[in-house]
């Protein structure tokens, strides 16, 4: 059965056409519009962070420091890190696709707390404002990690505005996570049991757990940093009895789980894409669902692997090292299940699928090199080299950004009501995949040979790898600019999308494209498991009924 119930669709104005004024966007409580507000904001920050990366790559084209001053270089990589981590990657999928899709996928009219949702966007923008003020005021040179005592006692840059900006943006992240958790618990449509939830929701839920439980620790840590820097009282200063490692513990208690805030949503998107474009039910639904929760929980137990060479207790390091290997298990479960889903599937090569396949490949490389780094002696050898840089870019850029773009393409017809140009989509997916590998694979080699990170100049023997890397970065840049252009173009000129262009099973595809303000004309009743795809292209949607229909039938 592939038909959808006509009763779920009564032509109301879509959420985009409901009103046109600026006020109707800036004061909206519609989760879909808030998702778009976030999308505009983080797209801006993505290109700000990207600009800083561009200058970094240009500087590294030659071994000498000839383009920028060393101080400027320190600020550039700090800006790149801070902006990309806190103002792009952490909010990326949860606040855009998450905001847009979570209520629709579970058959709700909105998030549980629509006003809190809007407030979180404004809080994010206030935090962003502080960050911009810090940049205009001269930037920050501490690295995105703000290690003490440098950040509190020595750096002459705008540490405090930046710390306040991150603290404030952190609260927006907490509120988004809180909203998603309560929405998933309390707003599910009739029939949407936990094991009928799309895997996107499971991963979003796991992400939100981390946002809610880890972010407050970062907030307090930044308060302590601000106090120490302002009053010179030595909370983490060894000269005044403090311990700099305590800062690192508190910082990584948040920032390691934060890595999973960035990657779990990527896994969320890919789980949807792989099964839809293989026309097969997902392999091992429960394993993927529980592995998301396992990653969220294990993620809290391994932060010390960032501190292997810091001087922390060797016994602690051993424990942190062994638990770090444990995180590989749920991650590998996901990769195996995705590959098993592909096996004998009827695969189509649409743009979202290209992104999803790219994700799997890059995530595998990023994950396996993570195991190198979890291994205590190997980590001691490659700490603070480009090997680490390459590793986390494979996860945070290769995986997370590819998943984000794949998701944007997949749900673009639902978001905008238009199709993106397929040919250009494929070009961008392939360009990004190739450009990415050319940029970052040489960094594994340079790093393993010993090239340290965060230096504006380097020994001449690393130049070949760096030239390759910079060449790759220029290809990557083209790959990123392409979707920006053709997606905006398609909003007016793209082919009008049908309600379910991919023949997908989720509730979001059973309503209109774009959906009306309250998502469904009537509350849907969920009648089927997710991902019931057949190889011949047919499928069973998750709903064919609405509450009102049932009532009518009972009355009859």
């Amino acid at each position: 059965m592939s038909a959808t119930a006509p009763a779920l669709k009564i032509r109301e104005p879509s959420y985009i056409n409901a009103a046109y004024t600026a006020k109707s966007w800036l004061l909206t409580t519609d989760h879909k519009r808030i998702g778009l507000l976030y999308m505009v904001a983080i797209t801006f920050f993505f290109f700000v962070g990207g600009l800083a990366a561009t200058v970094v790559r240009l500087e590294l084209l030659t071994p000498q420091g000839d383009l920028v001053l060393p101080e400027t270089y320190n600020k550039l990589f700090t800006v790149h890190g801070v902006i990309m981590v806190f103002f792009f990657l952490i909010p990326s999928i949860p606040t855009t696709l998450g905001n847009f899709l979570v209520p629709i996928m579970i058959g709700a009219r909105d998030m549980a707390f629509p006003r809190l949702n809007l407030a979180s966007w404004y809080i994010f923008m206030v935090g962003a404002l502080f960050a911009i003020v810090a940049l205009i005021g001269g930037g920050v040179d501490t690295g995105w990690t703000f290690y003490t005592p440098y950040s509190t006692g020595f750096s002459n840059t705008q540490v405090i505005p930046m710390a306040i900006g991150i603290l404030i943006a952190g609260f927006s992240s907490i509120f988004t996570g809180l909203n998603i958790i309560i929405t998933v618990h309390k707003m599910r449509a009739p029939g949407m049991t936990w094991f009928r939830l799309p895997l996107f929701i499971w991963s979003m839920y796991a992400t939100s757990l981390i946002m809610v439980l880890a972010t407050p620790v970062l907030a307090m840590t930044l308060v302590l940093i601000a106090v120490e820097r302002t009053f010179h009282v030595g909370i983490f200063d060894p000269a005044l009895g403090g311990d700099p490692l305590l800062f690192q513990h508190l910082f990584w208690f948040y920032s390691h789980p934060a890595v999973y805030i960035m990657i779990l949503p990527g896994m969320a998107v890919v789980s949807e894409l792989i099964t839809c474009f293989s026309r097969k039910p997902i392999f091992g639904y429960k394993f993927i669902a529980f592995s998301s929760i396992a990653i969220a929980v294990f993620g809290f137990l391994v932060w010390g692997h960032h501190m292997f060479v810091s001087g922390q207790s060797i016994y602690s390091s051993l424990i942190f090292s062994s638990i770090s290997f444990a995180v590989a298990i749920p991650s590998a479960i996901k990769v195996f299940n995705w590959t098993a889903t592909l096996y004998k599937g009827s695969i189509s090569w649409d743009t979202p699928m290209l992104y999803a396949l790219g994700f799997i490949g890059l995530f595998t490389i990023g994950g396996l090199t993570g195991l190198f780094l979890a291994t205590l002696p190997v980590d001691v050898h490659v700490t603070d080299t480009y090997f680490v840089v390459a590793h986390f870019h494979y996860i945070m850029v290769g995986s997370a950004v590819l998943a984000y773009l794949g998701g944007i393409h997949f749900w673009w017809p639902k978001i905008s009501g238009r199709m993106y140009p397929e040919w250009w989509g494929k070009v961008s997916a392939i360009t990004i995949f190739l450009g990415f590998n050319l940029t970052f694979f040489p960094q594994f080699i340079a790093g393993y040979q010993g090239m340290p990170r965060r230096y504006y100049a380097y020994a001449p023997e690393y130049q070949v790898m760096n030239v390759l890397s910079t060449a790759g970065a220029s290809i990557l840049a083209i790959g990123y600019v392409l979707p920006l252009i053709y997606l905006i173009w398609s909003m007016r000129e793209g082919e009008v999308a049908s309600d379910n262009p991919w023949g997908a099973t989720g509730l979001e595809w059973q309503t209109e494209s774009p959906p009306p303000t309250f998502n469904f004309a009537e509350t849907p009743i969920v009648t089927a498991e997710p991902y019931q795809y057949n190889p011949d292209g047919t499928f069973t949607p998750q709903t064919t009924l609405s509450v009102r229909q049932i009532k009518k039938e009972v009355a009859a």
Binding site: T29, P114, I174, M187, V217, L224, I235, G241, F518
Partner: protein
């Protein structure tokens, strides 16, 4: 902003909820989730404090003896009493006793202000004894740096707690105004939510009091 719609039973609910039960449970769980983040927010500074306390046990004990335990104890009584009044206010709200509820909310407000008053007075005494880091800290005894660390944590922890009190009191003042006009007659969820928050702030103090004032032997 959000329009309300009526359901077959119970007070009107916001547009995106099916019924009052769903809205009520969502609101309560939302507050609990928020309090979980607060546990970790305060938890971080408690962990930092106890790390240093374990390292400098004797120095911190000596420093702790310079705090006014009597004021701390009185404030604990004040805050625990305010927890009782707010619990009774929630109870009154559920039983539609508006006047009683407003009275108990006012009592909570007064107790909250009393707490802040005592706290401010204590800060004043600390200031007079040159115990305020970054302003006038002066320590005659041994290990001034580590002793200052104790007072840095004392001020950060109590000030962050006091900030939570101030936020609570401001919200409560507005809610008393609303309650007098009967805004919570049909649906007292807001009072319940406030109660949860207030009890949590009380719990923080329940841990702050022994942590800062009592570990002196």
């Amino acid at each position: 902003m959000t329009e309300l719609h009526s359901t077959s039973v119970g007070p009107p609910v916001a547009h995106h909820f099916e019924d009052f039960e769903q809205e009520h449970e969502a609101n309560m769980l939302g507050m609990w989730a928020f309090l979980a983040t607060e546990v970790l927010f305060f938890g971080a500074v408690f962990v930092a404090f106890y790390i240093y306390r374990s390292a400098y046990a004797d120095i911190f004990k000596e420093a702790s003896r310079h705090l006014y335990m009597s004021i701390g104890a009185i404030n604990t009584v004040v805050l625990l009493t305010s927890s009782l009044t707010v619990a009774l206010a929630v109870h009154a709200g559920e039983h539609k006793a508006r006047r009683l509820m407003v009275g108990l909310m006012v009592a909570t407000l007064v107790l909250g202000l009393a707490f802040l008053g005592f706290k401010a007075f204590e800060y004043y005494l600390d200031y007079q004894e040159h115990l305020v880091p970054a302003f006038n800290f002066a320590w005659e005894g041994a290990n001034p740096a580590q002793t200052q660390l104790f007072f840095v944590f004392y001020f950060i922890m109590t000030l962050v707690h006091a900030l939570h009190m101030i936020i609570g009191i401001s919200v409560l003042a507005r809610m008393i105004w609303q309650a007098r006009r009967g805004s919570y007659d049909q649906d007292s969820t807001a009072v319940e939510l406030f109660g949860l928050y207030w009890h949590f702030v009380d719990i923080v103090w329940i841990f702050l009091f022994p942590t800062l004032y009592l570990l002196r032997q």
